[in-house]
Symmetry: C2
Subunit: 176 residues, 2 copies
């Protein structure tokens, strides 16, 4: 799905509706830069906290998977997370103290595996919809209308926002 | 141009080609969140440095205007910045030591004025192009092809990346 020769093209993607392909192009680029930003980090680096209120890079990676999963459920199934799903993803969604306590001790492969599994499900789900689906609206934040294109834009813009923080934290990791 | 009731819609925008409207929808949302992240900051807060290698929030704001100006020139005029333009924008483009030394002492209105002036020029420029223009490609990074849609996507994704850092810095400003 992620063709490295086409990583700088916002364009059609085989098997997807035109606008869906553009959206996935942007999601792919965002993920490409996330993966680059965390390359070769070890367990200690993934757990590192800049200060008492910082999120670890590992927790932010799991947050990306959690947000994407939550939007799969809300936009494709029109529901919130159930108890079982909240047990799996709730901490990574909320971050904060619980995130600092519970999300740690994992190698990079753990996080990459979660990201990949959720992303593969996104690829599958998007194959089933057309562009009209992206433009359907509902009430979203502050009583205003959002369309599904925006909701999925938000998924990758949240990732980019935290990738900026990951880069800042990475450049301040203690020297080995 | 920024209709607050339509801030969560990626959709057509009156006066622009369809894909251009979608791109501007995303640029508008990114800017909306940037403005929210810097609301009410005073001069000291805009100049605050998290540590010796940090960019100030003010410098990051000027960086957004500089990047956007540079892409106006590269994509609409197919050239790099000239000497005069580099004198105006070079420091904000590069940030780093020179940014820490030279970009400070301004109130929020100074930065907001720069952002608005450059954005208004973007709105004007985009009125002159059609969707085909967005899909024209040229060699870009690492010898790979990029289309203009990607180049402008990069303008707002760079803003979102640094907005994540602005939020991190803002939440760590010394208490008044």
């Amino acid at each position: 799905m992620m063709d490295s020769d086409r990583i700088y093209l916002i364009a059609d993607m085989p098997g997807y509706a035109p606008q869906v392909g553009r959206l996935l192009s942007m999601m792919n680029y965002a993920r490409h830069t996330t993966l680059e930003a965390v390359q070769h980090l070890n367990r200690q680096q993934l757990d590192y906290l800049l200060d008492a209120r910082s999120n670890s890079i590992g927790a932010l990676l799991l947050h990306f998977a959690a947000v994407e999963y939550a939007y799969q459920v809300s936009t494709f199934e029109d529901r919130g997370l159930n108890e079982e799903e909240l047990a799996e993803w709730g901490t990574a969604l909320d971050l904060g103290d619980a995130g600092r306590e519970r999300i740690n001790g994992h190698d990079l492969d753990y996080y990459l595996g979660k990201l990949e599994a959720v992303r593969n499900r996104t690829y599958d789900l998007f194959r089933s919809v057309d562009d009209r689906w992206l433009y359907e609206q509902e009430e979203f934040w502050y009583g205003k209308q959002a369309n599904r294109y925006f909701m999925w834009f938000h998924v990758f813009e949240d990732e980019i926002n935290h990738r900026g923080q990951i880069r800042l934290i990475r450049s301040r990791l203690p020297k080995e």
